[in-house]
Point group: C2
Chain length 614, copies 2
């Protein structure tokens, strides 16, 4: 996950600067006769990674996490973050300026309902909130007896004097050899589907949907090769694309062909006005489109039809070319990881390797690979207690040496032209300690592994959602009174976002059936605060499976990720025969597929690391 | 489940009558200048069991299932039912009159969107739909370019000349010895909670909520001891109860005390008007309250605050007196079931016992029990292929003899003053057949049992919902490509509804955490069409459990139901050691608790039926 400029509040200069920023912002609000304002971490496209020009929350509060929001009133302000960031927010944000709150236990809506004065006006930027988000805010403002006001321009930008300009990374074609289907074919199919649903057009506001639909890639945000843009897909399969023209690589318009018209971003409003005035039935996704889009269409005369982004599901179900690509990418990525693990296993026990060095070394192994373009997120390298901080990012300040007898958690991934990878391995540095600590480590690691295997070997009928599988990953931990506070799996793109929907494996309700071609991560974990963190993550792809005698159409998973799971941390007596068989078969496959791709020394190490558990 | 007057469409007279009814209804619609009308199976209180006066769907279409709805247009009509009723609807409804459709695959909303003519007016009775239901209908009417119109009186009632009067069963106190907490205490607590949430009042439209809150019971609908009524709970803990006064048993107003004012049902509208005019903040549940309530409050000047019925959660979490009561009720009920099973095991192999005789015999065994008041639903007794029809109800016409070598599924329950029971047992009549059929029966039964045990032995952290546990019940079936098309568990009341919310174990999303005191059923199954049905159902109560070394607050289940599970249908080699241990321990407990409650012959049978599986 991206951390643009990680600085902690303990830097005195920064504390002063932040206090001044908040004061200036409050003056600006007063000038505009606003009582308060809500600052989400979101950009206009609800991106996970946002460009520096959109880092308003970080600029104002100091908090650089990937999710959160703040609210400012004349005499109070608060910042709302989830469980991943409760520690980080205390490090980065001055509680005298912003009261830190848990986003679900002490939500913004309650804070607004309790603190917004009667008759007060709470402002928001309609580009940065979804309609669903605005509806929740509206309810809170109603409760407080105040009102909510969308603003034409963001008052924070008025005081952010050195706000960077929007990014202008080049946009290039994503070749058919990787995409598998032409953009024209996708446009026609989706246009026909709109027509069949009685719709005239769909507003596309998710840039990864647009990148998928038009077979283009860009670089406007870190780690995800997408160009910021908006688009309107019409029922005849043509597309109006709203994008900074100077970003387009030479020849790109030829790649687009006749069916795609390029317009300046500022022209989106007029295009929505025309749709609204012609009473067109226009689809927009209330979960991701800015409220601005809904407001504009409604004002122009035709409230949008609410529905899911039409690219979401077809993008998630990878075609055979994309699946073949990701298998290749995972093989090369696995070879890089194995070369790294062999090095680590030799060097780390000497006690001199740090988290940052380990991450950089792995980056180096990957960079040598064909088709490598970027990491798919900032590597999480957590030694000992740092591993217990779920969304830990090592910094010069927190950087820790890998100590013998400690656990090291490493979560990393890469963007290759033919696929996106994401893998977590948890290793013991040297030998597992003797005595109760070592036994506990093995017990926890093995329970996490049992959860991982339960997901990997799951068979389930067509229509089953990832929510229904989540408990398989947790049951072995639950039996011991343990759990982990993150999802079990997220969707993964094809040389696109390392997090994509609509499917996921999570205890949160999700009704999207897991369909063949969907890629998801399988990553149960366990975290002991102040001691160590464990996570075992492979990517898997959903497949149709043939079960003899089956009465239902069945689905299962094929594991894509290839790298050994640390045998030293496994307590074999906790595994069932079936679990042991899975582990040995997986390791045999890792050995078969990767040995030929690595040097002799690494191959020797790999042979040992993939021995049957016995 | 209740089937008031089961008649099949094959009766020629009935076919003629139904055709005439539909014609008369269409004339009535035309007189009112309505294009069409929607007829849900619901009554005003979204009851599962509705009184005969509310059986509009059955009267018009012939369909007597517990869920469904019909829509009538000038030249078309359709009936929408779920998977449980796809066979029954074909038996009962003339497809020339009503096209049968699957309620989720071919929903009403799509049918309306496709068939309602542009400019047409679709009527509905706002007492019989929730606001959420109306919103979906509105969207469909919008799509068709038609409009939706709430009606002050139901046009069907105008042509239903022999519509029965509303029920007037007596309302009696539910004694503290069973209720565990006084109504005054409950009212005060819930009133204080409304006040803390900034609310002035709550409209209660679910009669089981009102029965729970006021510690009263009635008999207006079959099998559920509730009186039909509406109520308004105020923040000071007082209640306005809207109920037919002649239903109140002598002395009931003394039982109510000062805090409860009784009004005629027709006065509800005026009371809502007063609340609306005073701008009171009134809670109403959009999932269950009639749209009429929302419309009335909104028109009077104060749109309701949408939220869950405030009785729902406290009613679900049974207090220690209620739990002690249900344990007692289950012990007596178990003794009745065991007496019946012993008789069945002796008589059925002779080949002369029918489904209806078996059900009646079991009813007789229960009737002898102390505190017995009613069955909690119509017994499901399915021999051989009839067992594969999930919501089968045996009739004179379908009644089947229990044949040796066939499987018999029996789902039944009772209402005792101290608790509500619901148990399913699946037995082999005589001996399991030799060869592949017998092996298949054992395989299926054992997989269902494995799912049942996985739920019974689950441990899970506080906050875990039943949706998260559902897969535990299915995984063993999924491994063989099998599944079942119903939920795994429903909430159960305390001498109230055999189905109650808000918790359930289901693959459908549900975010209600399972909290101590909640009672749910644990009932996985397997159904082979044309051959047999298997279901193993116990009720369980959620408990706080102490897991050594636990890092989370953990929950588990205590099984309440006591009766042997047919050992002859178990394939021991498919069970793990842990599963075998659970089964033997359960049987030992059944034997310990019930032997003293049955006669010597039954005790001998029970000893054999509860022997360790070995």
């Amino acid at each position: 996950m991206y951390e643009a400029h990680f600085q902690t509040f303990e830097d005195a200069d920064r504390g002063v600067a932040l206090s001044a920023r908040l004061a200036a912002f409050r003056e600006e609000l007063a000038r505009r006769h606003l009582t308060g304002f809500v600052i989400p971490r979101a950009d206009q496209q609800q991106n996970e990674y946002v460009p520096p020009s959109e880092e308003r929350l970080a600029w104002l509060t100091g908090f650089t996490g990937s999710a959160g929001l703040a609210a400012v009133l004349p005499d109070q302000a608060a910042i709302f973050v989830d469980g991943r960031y409760t520690l980080q927010v205390r490090d980065q944000v001055d509680p005298a300026l912003f009261e830190p709150r848990h986003v679900t236990d002490q939500p913004l809506e309650r804070w607004v309902a309790e603190n917004l004065p009667k008759g007060a006006v709470l402002g928001y930027d309609p580009w940065l909130h979804t309609v669903e988000g605005v509806a929740r805010l509206q309810e809170a403002a109603d409760k407080a007896g105040g009102s909510l006001q969308p603003l034409a321009d963001n008052p924070l930008d008025a005081v952010w004097t050195d706000q960077p300009p929007p990014p202008i990374a080049p946009v290039v074609p994503h070749e058919l050899a990787y995409a598998g289907r032409s953009a024209a074919e996708k446009r026609q199919e989706l246009g026909a589907k709109l027509a069949a649903d009685g719709l005239d057009a769909a507003v596309l506001t998710l840039p990864d949907s647009i990148a998928w639909l038009l077979n283009i890639r860009g670089g406007d945000v870190p780690h995800t090769p997408l160009p910021l843009s908006f688009a309107v897909l019409h029922r005849d399969g043509t597309v109006d694309l709203f994008i900074e023209r100077l970003k387009l690589a030479p020849g790109l318009e030829r790649h687009f062909g006749n069916g795609v018209a390029v317009h300046a971003p500022a022209e989106l409003g007029a295009a929505l006005d025309r749709l609204g005035e012609s009473k067109a039935r226009v689809l927009a996704d209330p979960a991701s489109a800015p409220a601005w889009v809904f407001d504009r269409l409604t004002r122009a005369g035709s409230a949008p039809v609410r529905g899911e982004d039409p690219c979401s599901l077809p993008k998630a179900c990878k075609n055979p070319v994309e699946i073949a690509g990701t298998r290749n990418a995972h093989r090369r990525d696995g070879a890089a990881v194995v070369r790294f693990l062999c090095w680590l296993d030799t060097e780390a026990p000497k006690g001199a390797v740090t988290e940052l060095e380990a991450a950089e070394r792995l980056h180096g192994c990957r960079r040598e690979n064909a088709l490598f373009r970027d990491l798919s997120f900032d590597t999480i390298a957590g030694a000992g207690p740092n591993g217990a901080i779920v969304h830990y990012r090592s910094t010069e300040k927190t950087n820790r040496k890998l100590a013998p007898g400690e656990i090291f958690l490493l979560d990393s991934g890469a963007q290759y032209l033919d696929g996106t990878t994401d893998i977590t391995r948890t290793m013991i540095v040297g030998r597992v300690p003797d005595g109760p600590l070592g036994a506990e480590m093995r017990d926890r690691f093995t329970r996490v592994l049992k959860g991982h295997i339960a997901v990997a070997t799951a068979r389930f009928p067509k229509g089953t959602s990832g929510s229904q599988l989540d408990t398989l990953a947790r049951a072995a931990l639950w039996q011991a009174g343990l759990d982990y506070d993150h999802g079990t799996g997220h969707g993964v793109g094809s040389y696109l976002g390392v997090h994509e929907g609509p499917q996921r494996i999570s205890k949160l309700p999700n009704r999207v059936g897991l369909e063949p071609g969907m890629i998801v991560s399988n990553e149960p974990g366990y975290y002991k605060t102040g001691a160590y963190g464990i996570r075992i993550e492979n990517l898997v792809v959903v497949t149709a499976i043939d079960v003899p005698g089956a009465e239902r159409e069945m689905r299962g998973f094929e594991t894509l990720t290839l790298a050994p799971i640390d045998r030293r941390l496994i307590e074999p007596s906790l595994l069932t025969d079936g679990e042991r068989a899975w582990l040995d078969a997986y390791h045999a496959r890792v050995s078969d597929e990767l040995t030929q791709l690595v040097d002799t020394a690494t191959a020797q190490w790999l042979a040992e690391a993939t021995r049957p558990i016995g």
